[in-house]
């Protein structure tokens, strides 16, 4: 089995880009990653492309050059990008290829995601009566969590404010204006206790990551970043999950908990070794819950840690240093590769104004989404 290194990352900014297609954004992201790796497209031996809106991410090859390589399309809900990343890494780890690209792209319309509930194994009427909404699931989950673990509304506002503040430091972010906590709390209540400014928005963007066999990485870069773990897990019976008309009284952990434990085991490290963190902040409450689900604190400790600034760029456990989903929005296919892009910059020490001090060595990224799938990636210098 080969170790895997990341030698290039590229990003098309996240936001809204008029008539520009997701495929063209993906081509820009791949070109940026090729330039970053110092290689050309014909050197890439295979690729995985992820998207929700684009049926055929493989079309990006027609923008980059039709070299005939195997290019596989994947979709796996909000964990699509983690899936593309993992499959690319596994194809190198297994010895099948030496160098490949994972690329994610999307171009969503305005407003919350929708689909046919029947395709989620929910009854057809589930959407007709107004239950088929991810936002209300996240709201119900954090409301119970706040009740059980003493998390305040003010903490939710602090998390969102941090997202916008970090986004202001990130030239690729969608939301680049800091928003005061009072304004976040006073914005429209979408799903109690979550207000409009506590949610991320579906938007547009693309990201690409070029990986190779770790023993070849120094041919391409002086700063390879090693992929220490990449895991995916789906929900177990007893987990309280999105798009479910019922849940059992008998409770089990969320899929993130299992993906996280498996990733730490694979990497041979623990949460105390992580220097910079990317978490799925579909909403401010999700970031709070995911801090505990990924082992960075006990349930309830977030109230104190966030008040103390622990998750700020200069804090002991910086979370979502590029503004996360709250400031970047969520083009589903690209979102997890944006997380990896940010971690790679942070571990190289090239994140500019938002650089985590102290030369971080280990980065951690978590994705979670419908219908209850989680992905975790651990990187190190």
């Amino acid at each position: 089995m080969n170790d895997v290194a990341i030698i290039g990352v590229g990003l098309h900014p996240f936001g809204r880009f008029g008539d520009k297609s997701a495929i063209d954004m993906a081509a820009d992201a791949v070109r940026a990653a090729l330039q970053d790796a110092g290689i050309t497209w014909p050197q890439v031996q295979f690729g995985f492309g992820g998207s929700f809106e684009v049926d055929n991410p493989d079309a990006v090859t027609s923008r980059l050059g039709l070299t005939g390589i195997p290019f596989m399309d994947v979709y796996n809900g909000c964990a699509t990008a983690a899936t593309a990343l993992q499959l690319t890494a596994e194809s190198i780890r297994s010895g099948q290829y030496d160098i490949g690209v994972a690329v994610g792209m999307d171009k969503h319309g305005h407003g919350a995601f929708t689909s046919d509930p029947v395709d989620y194994a929910a009854p057809a009427w589930y959407g007709e009566i107004g239950h088929f909404l991810t936002t209300k699931f996240f709201a119900m989950k954090i409301n119970r969590y706040m009740h059980d673990h003493g998390i305040s509304h003010a903490t939710l506002a602090r998390v969102a404010a941090k997202g916008y503040r970090n986004g202001a430091l990130n030239p690729n972010a969608f939301r680049r204006k800091p928003i005061p906590e009072e304004e976040i709390l006073a914005s429209r209540m979408l799903n109690y206790p979550l207000t409009q400014y506590m949610f991320c928005a579906p938007d547009e963007g693309a990201a690409a990551v070029i990986m190779c066999r770790a023993d070849l990485a120094r041919q391409y870069t002086d700063t390879p970043i090693y992929l220490r773990a990449s895991t995916l897990r789906t929900r177990r019976y007893g987990a309280f999950e999105v798009h479910a008309s019922w849940t059992s009284v008998e409770q089990d952990h969320a899929p993130t908990v299992y993906a996280s434990r498996a990733a730490y085991e694979m990497a041979g490290i623990g949460p105390e070794d992580v220097d910079v963190i990317q978490l799925q902040d579909t909403d401010a409450g999700a970031e709070v819950i995911h801090m505990a689900e990924n082992g960075f604190c006990e349930d309830g400790e977030q109230e104190r840690l966030i008040a103390e600034g622990a998750t700020e760029i200069g804090g002991p456990m910086p979370v979502n240093t590029d503004g996360g989903l709250i400031a970047n929005g969520e083009p589903i296919g690209a979102s997890g590769l944006r997380q990896v892009h940010e971690l790679v910059l942070q571990l190289r020490g090239t994140a500019g104004e938002r650089q985590v001090p102290g030369a971080p060595r280990v980065g951690y990224a978590q994705l979670y989404g419908a219908p209850g799938t989680a992905g975790v990636t651990i990187l190190s210098r």
């Binding site: 919350a112 929708t114 009427w125 088929f132 409301n143 799903n191 109690y192 019976y237 019922w246 009284v249």
Partner: protein, 157 residues
């Protein structure tokens, strides 16, 4: 199923359930129609074609308790996109409550709540099933859905 195919009531306003097989109707004491796995006993809502715990394909119809406690809740503050079929417009939409209701030790079901003011909802409060108007179609037919209502004077801890 439980007599839910014939949902029209003898009254001046035609009332129909939004879908058959979801709750018993018409009924003085309506119940949600769930399922119980014949292999492992797992209780679900609605009755699924197979069991989510063990995968068995024999799941019997099982009527759920009418009363329970509110395990968590939120409010739906914006008009849901299609396939939502409530018939409102952005102008006429009124927020509604939605929660996860624990029914005995059997199952937690997701349901609309009759109350949408978070100040009047409390985790742990006792709630009871009601069949309530969902929308009125152009021909005057009233389409009904299920919802849980706070049981006043019996608030749980």
């Amino acid at each position: 199923m439980t007599g839910t195919d014939d949902v029209r009531e003898e009254s001046t306003v035609a009332q129909v359930a939004f879908a058959p097989g979801v709750f018993t109707w018409p009924s003085e004491e309506p119940r949600l129609i769930g399922g119980r796995c014949t292999e492992c006993g797992s209780v679900t809502f609605p009755r699924p074609p197979s069991c989510a715990r063990c995968g068995a394909t024999a799941v019997d119809e099982h009527l759920l308790p009418r009363r329970g406690t509110l395990w968590t809740f939120t409010t739906q503050g914006f008009l849901p996109k299609e396939p939502y079929a409530g018939g409102e417009t952005v102008e006429t939409f009124r927020p509604f409550g939605i929660g996860l209701v624990q029914l005995g030790d059997e199952v937690r079901v997701e349901s609309r709540l009759t109350e949408h003011d978070p100040e009047r909802l409390r985790i742990g409060m006792e709630v009871e099933l009601e069949i309530v108007p969902f929308r009125t179609d152009d021909d005057g037919t009233e389409v009904l859905t299920f919802a849980f209502a706070p049981v006043h004077g019996h608030g749980g801890g």
